[in-house]
Amino acid sequence: MTTVGSFALSLIGFALINLSMRKHMKQWRPGSELSNGAVWVVRTLGYLLLLAAAVVLVRTDGLSVGLTTYCGVLTVAAFGIALANSIRATRLKRDRKGRA
């Protein structure tokens, strides 16, 4: 259960970091752009959630097992976000082609 919680935090954390990158923001919200201040806030929040995900695991599983699990959780979460970006890009392309 803790691993699932940590995974959820990591996924949201990575999603925020992803949105703080302009090229990915364009994919998810075409036409809208975050200000520099908003980028900073979103990115910092993303990193804080990643930190929280680590804390959750270390508190329940201990430092050694907790950090090991955390690395695995980060891997799956980051991979999930990259895959979501890719699917989104393919859909946008298909939509654009459909409109053309």
Binding site: T3, F14, N18, M21, K23, H24, G62, S64, V65, T68, T69, C71, G72, V73, L74, T75, V76, A78, F79, I81, A82, L83, N85, S86, A89, T90
Partner: protein, 535 residues
């Protein structure tokens, strides 16, 4: 140096990676599968009795009774109580010294059923099981063990160089962290390679560096030998000295071995309930008997033990800090590499990270060919290029087919067959060998597609053949019974089959375009089309 520093590193990354990528792929696949070797063992010997949990003191009592019968006169006993998936049954070991007038050291190794105290019957299915598959990643099976260790050490070092140079050459490591551009030919292969590498980077660095630590005494023996003034006999004791192994001679005076209960109680008082892992007895029945109780290892595998007088039951050595810092560091890395401490969730994360490492190597190898084809679309494929391509197809898809054949052989080879376990492995390598030859006879796309379909069929056949060849170890029984070890194996085989079906369908949609279409795309200024046309 070739051009700039980064260009040199790119060259090193490309060629270091390419030359050994197929054997690294083999090591990663078999090592990754090895994270479930106990579960695979059980699937391959479904008729063996299911493990039963027991308390440390219960198991030790059963083990002692067995050793007093079978190991009387031995100078060493080991009792290893059942411990979840890693040690499913109580294990005992005894060793008698060689007789003074010659002869060999005698040893006895047994697995005991906790319900009966009797030896667990051997399976009717002689098999190498998951252990053989797992061991392949560092002994490479057919090679002499010394040669294999040295070779694996070099390969691991090359892998490590590949990873460090990969980090150096990846200019936009953070910017492209979440980037995977689908269906863009060569670009997609590079994105995939980067994505697999970067997302699992902590695991890949850990697994490669800790792999090097396993090989430290193979490749740097002079460190130990030099510490013993080049006395090679004494240097052989380095491991036992470094890990604080107890050394004591028998007194030659008979004395009754103390009861184990107070010893266990004393150790549990120091380390807590359910904290004990195994017990060793030196010179049982002698006045100099010693009982050594080992604490359960945590993730770091750092050993901790208490030494008791085997006659009085007194604590002789209760220190836990007897190992040196280098041993602690090494044990930490080795523990992380093996992941024996991992529960089900972490074990799956290990497995997934291993798969990403495997995919990293595969996509790197495929990218090499895609890039060269994109660069020189006019040139006919040279022999070297074709050789790399055939190895790519025959290894990336062929090795999984070989592994599926290994599992099928376990179910299909005659039960009484001589050297059955060895033949399971021979079947795996014969099938893999055939899949390496097949791409030579077919065009690139045909070979990829057909082998992907073959892999899908081979993995889909596993649960089907299982239904036909076992009475109660197949999905129709294991799923309703909630036996997730056996059911999980079959379901994983089905998942692998589905994955290969998807791969085969994607390859089936791919239409290699002629060079003219590339030129036409170039005239239109369509860079994407150019790239995907030739990739």
């Amino acid at each position: 140096m070739i051009g700039s520093f980064r260009q040199s590193m790119t060259w090193l990354h490309t060629w270091a990676g390419l030359v050994v990528c197929w054997i690294l792929y083999f090591m990663f696949v078999t090592g990754t599968v090895g994270y479930f070797y106990t579960e695979i063992d059980r699937w391959m010997q479904p008729d063996r009795p299911v493990a039963m949990d027991a308390s440390f003191s219960e198991a030790v009592a059963v083990g002692r009774a067995h050793l007093e019968r079978e190991g009387a006169g031995a100078d060493r006993w080991f009792i290893n109580p059942p411990r979840g998936r890693e040690i499913p049954h109580l294990r005992t070991f005894w060793q008698k010294p060689a007789a003074e007038d010659g002869g060999d050291i005698q040893r006895g190794n047994d697995e005991l059923d906790m319900r009966t105290g009797e030896t667990v019957p051997e399976s009717v299915r002689e098999t190498g099981g998951g252990q053989t598959l797992y061991r392949m990643h560092y002994i490479l099976h057919y090679l002499n063990r010394d040669i294999a260790y040295r070779l694996v050490g070099i390969l691991t070092l090359i892998m490590f160089i590949g990873m460090v140079t990969g980090i150096v050459v990846h200019k936009k490591i953070f910017k492209d962290f979440f980037t995977f551009r689908f269906a863009k030919g060569q670009r997609s292969w590079l994105d995939m390679h980067n994505l697999f590498s970067v997302t699992s980077l902590p695991f890949q660095l850990m697994i490669t560096y800790s792999g090097l630590i396993f090989m430290v005494t193979t490749w740097m023996p002079l460190v130990a030998i030099g510490s013993y003034n080049f006395d090679t006999e004494k240097a052989a004791e380095v491991i036992s000295e470094a890990t604080g192994e107890v050394s004591i001679e028998a007194a030659g005076v008979p004395a009754e071995l103390v009861a184990f209960e107070p010893v266990i109680a004393r150790a549990e008082q120091a380390w807590g309930d359910d904290s004990l892992m195994r017990m060793e007895v030196r010179h049982p029945g002698d006045a100099n008997a010693r009982i050594i109780v080992y604490r359960k290892e945590n993730a770091s595998r750092v050993p901790a033990r208490m030494v008791f007088d085997g006659v009085s039951g007194e604590v002789l050595d209760g220190r836990t800090d007897y190992v040196s810092t280098p041993i602690v560091v090494a044990a930490t890395f080795l523990g992380l590499h093996e992941g024996l401490f991992a529960g089900p969730v972490l074990r799956w994360l290990y497995f997934l990270s291993g798969l990403l490492g495997t995919a990293m190597i595969a996509t790197g190898a495929i990218y090499w060919t895609a890039k060269r084809r994109n660069k020189n679309p006019d040139e006919p494929e040279g022999r070297g290029f074709r050789f790399v391509e055939c190895l790519n197809i025959g290894t990336v898809v062929g090795l999984p087919i070989g592994i599926a054949a290994y599992f099928l052989a376990n179910r299909l080879l005659p039960l009484g067959m001589e050297n059955r376990a060895e033949w399971e492995v021979h079947v795996m390598f014969i099938v893999w060998g055939l899949t390496l030859l097949y791409p030579v006879l077919r065009s690139r796309v045909e070979a990829w597609r057909e082998q992907a379909w073959l892999a899908a069929a081979a993995f889909a056949a596993i649960p089907v053949v299982n239904v036909l060849t076992t009475d109660n170890a197949h999905l129709l029984v294991t799923l309703p019974a909630g036996d997730w070890v056996l059911a999980g194996f079959d379901l994983t085989a089905i998942a692998a089959a589905v994955l290969f079906v998807v791969a085969a369908l994607l390859i089936g949609r791919y239409r290699p375009r002629s060079h003219q279409s590339v030129e036409a795309a170039a005239e239109r200024g369509d860079a994407t089309a150019q790239s995907s046309a030739v990739a």
